[in-house]
Each structure stands twice: as structure tokens, then as C-alpha cells.
């Protein structure tokens, strides 16, 4: 009787070792492994003060997500074959563990909040709707569930979110400085000098899996893929959209300059809920598009 805890402990340890050994080589968990994982602390997500539980998400995933993302999370659901990029991007392959919308540096896993936000926000210009029909708990549960598809979640921790300084006041100087950044790092190579997604490289863009993909058109009134707020836009070019041609500019744009660029990008968009001030400044300055050289 006295030996029992020790035995249990060693059994658990060896089970963990077996799991750890078999995980990196297998993309998909076996039923037994999945059950073990579902009962482990790894099968949770933490979003603010909500704790998501993967077990609770399984039926929701099977009801609402499986059609596109597939039973095995490989993005090969029944409907996927009818989605034709670039007009209709293919569903995310969760097995790769590569995500567009992150607050973390390029090449790292997103945080639970990042995944939660993507579910809540949906992905504009794709078949991923806004899932605000789910409760907050359901969304957090799904975040936990998504993480069992890729072995990366077992071997890696999410990246450290990038530091975003508080947003400064919009000034004409900042808008002009932002335009200089736009010219210097050559955003226009893909996005075009007027942000119309018609830069010289726009027509040949492909994603990591070789499928055609469009650069974001600032002028057509669509929402940026990873959120519409100033902070969201800041994150997009400072972390890059992994799996797509959009690189991270964090090595080449300083945090303060990044805000300038956000303000300039706002002037390219048509009037919306966020850019009244920037549009006014652009008009006063009589801003002309940068010249491609």
C-alpha cells in the first residue's frame, strides 16, 4: 500500500516519456494519446480570466469547424475543395501550427489571446466568419482544442508578445514621417504606391504552400485580415503574417516609426471609423503617393 504513490508516479512519468518521444514524429494523436492529452493541463487555454477546456470544445468543433478545417485539423474538410484561392483562401491547416494573426514575433506560436481574437473577429475576405455567436467560454474552449492538432504546442511555448508603446497623438509630421517609412521599406512593392494592392510584385505572390494570394488593398474598404484597430495594424507589419508573403518589419522599423506608418496607412483607406484625423491631415498636406524608384 505504501509503495503505491511511487508506482503511480513512475507509471505517469513513463507515460509522459512515451508521449514526449512519440509526439514530435507524429502529426496526429492516436485516440489513446488524445484522451491522455484531454485530461492533461495542456488541454486548456487562458484568455483574460477565462479558462478554456479542450474537452468541452470537441462537440462544438465537430458541429461548426469540421466542414472546412477537417476532422484532423489539416484544413481539408469537405468544403475545402470548393475554396479557390486567392478569392477564397483555403482553410488553415492547424497541423502546421503556423498562424497569420499573432502578437508574437515571426516564426513563433501565437498566444491563446491571439487565437481567441481570430475566432471572435473572423478573417475578412475569406470564408472564416465572425464567430460572435459563440460564447466567450466556447471560443476559449476552441482555442484549447485547436492546440492538439500540431505537435508544436507540445514542444514549444508561444512567443513573447511584441512591446507596443502607447499610441501617440496624430500630427502632420507623423503622417509625413510614416510616408517616408512606407517609401523606405518599400511597402509599395506589393501594396502599390496608393495602397491599391497593385505593386510590381503583387501579381506573383503565393503563400507558403504555393497558392496564389493577394496583397491587402487599403482602398477598397475591406478590413485588414488581423483586425481594424491601430494596434492591430501595428502588429500586422511588426510581426508579419506567417504563412504568407507579408514579412516582419520589426528589425527595420523602430516602435515610434511604426506608429507613424500606422497613421500614414490610415490615409490610404477610405473614410472609416478610425481615420477621420489622418484623412483630414492628408488633405491639408496635399499628400501625393510615394514615387517608386
Amino acid at each position: 500500500m505504501r509503495r503505491k504513490p511511487f508506482l503511480q508516479c513512475s507509471l505517469l512519468m513513463s507515460a509522459a516519456a512515451v508521449l514526449a518521444l512519440s509526439l514530435p514524429v507524429r502529426a496526429q494523436l492516436s485516440t489513446v494519446q488524445l484522451q491522455a492529452w484531454l485530461n492533461s493541463p495542456a488541454a486548456t487555454s487562458h484568455v483574460g480570466n477565462i479558462t478554456g477546456n479542450a474537452k468541452a470544445a470537441a462537440p462544438v468543433y465537430r458541429r461548426y469547424c469540421v466542414g472546412c478545417h477537417g476532422e484532423f485539423g489539416d484544413g481539408n474538410g469537405e468544403v475545402a475543395q470548393w475554396l479557390e484561392p486567392p478569392m477564397y483562401p483555403k482553410p488553415r491547416d492547424f497541423q502546421l501550427g503556423i498562424f497569420k494573426c499573432r502578437s508574437t514575433p515571426t516564426g513563433t506560436l501565437p498566444t491563446d489571446e491571439d487565437l481567441y481574437d481570430t475566432i471572435a473577429r473572423g478573417l475578412d475576405r475569406s470564408s472564416m466568419p465572425i464567430w460572435n455567436t459563440f460564447t466567450k467560454d466556447e471560443r476559449a474552449n476552441l482555442v484549447a482544442w485547436i492546440k492538439h492538432f500540431s505537435p508544436r504546442w507540445q514542444t514549444e511555448k508561444p512567443g513573447t508578445p511584441i512591446q507596443i508603446p502607447p499610441e501617440p497623438e496624430v500630427t502632420p509630421e507623423r503622417v509625413k514621417a510614416g510616408q517616408e517609412v512606407f517609401g523606405r521599406v518599400q511597402c509599395w512593392k506589393c501594396h502599390g504606391v496608393q495602397g491599391m494592392a497593385n505593386g510590381p510584385s503583387a501579381s506573383t505572390l503565393t503563400d507558403d504552400l504555393g497558392r496564389p494570394i493577394w496583397a491587402y488593398n487599403f482602398t477598397d474598404g475591406s478590413r485588414p485580415k488581423c483586425g481594424s484597430t491601430d494596434r492591430d495594424i501595428y502588429k500586422i507589419f511588426m510581426t508579419g503574417l506567417d504563412g504568407t508573403p507579408m514579412p516582419s518589419f520589426s528589425d527595420n522599423i523602430k516602435p515610434d516609426e511604426a506608429w507613424d506608418l500606422v497613421f500614414y496607412l490610415r490615409t490610404l483607406q477610405p473614410h472609416n471609423a478610425y481615420n477621420a484625423k489622418e484623412k483630414q491631415i492628408a488633405r491639408q498636406l496635399g499628400l501625393k503617393p510615394v514615387s517608386p524608384q
Binding site: 505504501r2 511511487f6 514530435p24 502529426a27 497541423q95 502546421l96 501550427g97 503556423i98 515571426t106 516564426g107 513563433t108 500540431s150 505537435p151 508544436r152 514542444t155 514549444e156 523606405r184 521599406v185 518599400q186 512593392k189 506589393c190 510590381p200 510584385s201 506573383t204 505572390l205 503565393t206 507558403d208 508579419g240 506567417d242 504563412g243 504568407t244 508573403p245 507579408m246 514579412p247 516582419s248 518589419f249 520589426s250 528589425d251 527595420n252 524608384q293
Partner: protein, 248 residues
């Protein structure tokens, strides 16, 4: 019960320490004896395939760099006497696992004239390498490893004058690297374990730092695949291995 556990813990700990010392002494033995080398030539058997010229008209800067010397794709580069350039040679069998890196210097992957110079760089697992830019146009450097291997894809921009990017890879893999802005730009990071070499423009190579022993050497070419050869290296003496790829 408690005492028993402590003694077990101590036994395991001392075992680990012993193994550690063992590994250290082994390492020393190997580096002392690893002065042999494998040299040879990699050739193409047959006529060199036609390499399509590159249309760089998307970016006038790139066009300007090659005004007087039009360039072509570099998938198969053939030099004097049919020697194949950009072939990576590494030891695929026979390594003890204690080999020192065959090169202490950092491989550099430069972006120059809207091309990768060199087209292929080889490196060890966890060896640091540098990506630099000599161009006055923005590149994005986008390696595309298979995330299942443990190498994670990333994508960073390098505008004119940007500082070098330093990175390393976690697992052996032939990693394709591209620039989305200039879709013709394509190169490879070849990540291997143990001593390695890359052929020069005429197909010559020397793998340094090989300990005495019997090995299988693999030659890898991006389009033509792999060839292997069995090689025996005597202590401190150079061995020879020649490879020949059939033209497709």
C-alpha cells in the same frame, strides 16, 4: 521510504555526472583524431540542361545590376569539365555523434543583384548563419522548412542598408528559401550533422575534420537528387570520393 528515494536520486545524479564526463573525454578523443579529410569532384554526366534567363523587369534596380551580363536560373550550374557547383556533401552514415563542426566560421547568405550569393549554403544543426543584403532594393527573406521537422518557417524584410539577420536551424533539412518580392530569387539552406562541404564552381570539394573510420558520404543537388559513396578514411590521411550525376 523518503531515505530510499533520496539514495535513488543520488545514484541517478552520479550516473548522469559519470556519463557527462564520459562524453567529454570521448569528444576530446574525436577532435584529436579528426584531421582526416575527404576530397573529390562532383560531375554532371551528360549535357548541361538549359537554364532559363531571368526576367527582372518587375524591379528596375535588379535589371540595372545585370545590364551587361544577363543571368539565368541556378538550379544546375556546370563549370569546367562538367563539374557541378552548389552540391552539398555530408556524411550520412558512420558518424559517432561527437564530431566537431567542420567550420567555425559563420556561413553568409547574401542578397546581391537580386540573387542569393551563394545559391546554396550548408551548415550544421544549431550553427549560426547570417543573411545580409548588398542591394538597394527591399527583399524579404522567407525560408520554407517543413514545420514538422522542428525547423520553423519565418519571414523577415531586409530593406536597403538593413542589418544582417542572424539565425540557426534546429534539425537537418534541405530548406528552400525565397523572396516573395522577387519571385525568381530562390536558394537553399542545407542543414546537416557533422562535417560537410559545398562544391566550388568546378565541382571540387574537401570535407575537413573527418576522424578515421568508414563512412557513407552523400552528395545532394537540388534538382538531381542525391548520390552516395562508401569512403574509408585512415587516421590523418586524405581520402577520395568522386560523384557523377546523370543529366536529366
Amino acid at each position: 521510504m523518503k531515505k530510499q528515494r533520496y539514495s535513488k536520486f543520488a545514484a541517478i545524479l552520479s550516473g548522469l555526472v559519470l556519463i557527462g564526463f564520459g562524453a567529454l573525454s570521448l569528444d576530446q578523443n574525436v577532435s584529436a583524431a579528426a584531421e582526416g579529410s575527404i576530397a573529390g569532384t562532383v560531375k554532371l554526366d551528360g549535357t548541361a540542361p538549359h537554364m532559363r534567363g531571368i526576367d527582372m523587369s518587375k524591379d528596375p534596380y535588379c535589371v540595372k545590376q545585370h545590364e551587361n551580363s544577363p543571368i539565368a536560373l541556378e538550379n544546375v550550374v556546370v563549370g569546367a569539365n562538367g563539374g557541378l557547383a552548389n552540391v552539398v556533401l555530408y556524411i550520412s552514415e558512420g558518424l559517432t555523434g561527437n564530431e566537431a563542426s567542420s567550420s567555425s566560421s559563420e556561413p553568409v547568405f547574401d542578397q546581391k543583384g537580386c540573387q542569393y550569393i551563394p545559391h546554396v549554403i550548408a551548415m550544421n544543426v544549431d550553427q549560426k548563419f547570417k543573411v545580409t543584403t548588398s542591394d538597394q532594393t527591399t527583399h524579404n527573406i522567407h525560408p520554407l522548412p517543413n514545420a514538422m521537422t522542428g525547423n520553423i518557417p519565418w519571414n523577415k524584410s531586409q530593406p536597403p542598408g538593413a542589418p544582417p539577420i542572424e539565425a540557426s536551424w534546429k534539425a537537418p533539412e534541405m530548406i528552400s528559401v525565397k523572396c516573395n518580392i522577387h519571385p525568381w530569387m530562390h536558394g537553399y539552406h542545407v542543414v546537416v550533422k557533422g562535417p560537410y562541404a559545398t562544391t566550388d564552381k568546378d565541382g571540387n570539394f574537401t570535407i575537413h575534420g573527418v576522424a578515421a573510420g568508414s563512412y557513407t558520404v552523400t552528395a545532394w543537388q537540388e534538382d538531381l537528387g542525391t548520390q552516395t559513396a562508401k569512403v574509408t578514411v585512415a587516421a590523418g590521411k586524405p581520402a577520395t570520393a568522386n560523384f557523377s550525376f546523370k543529366a536529366k
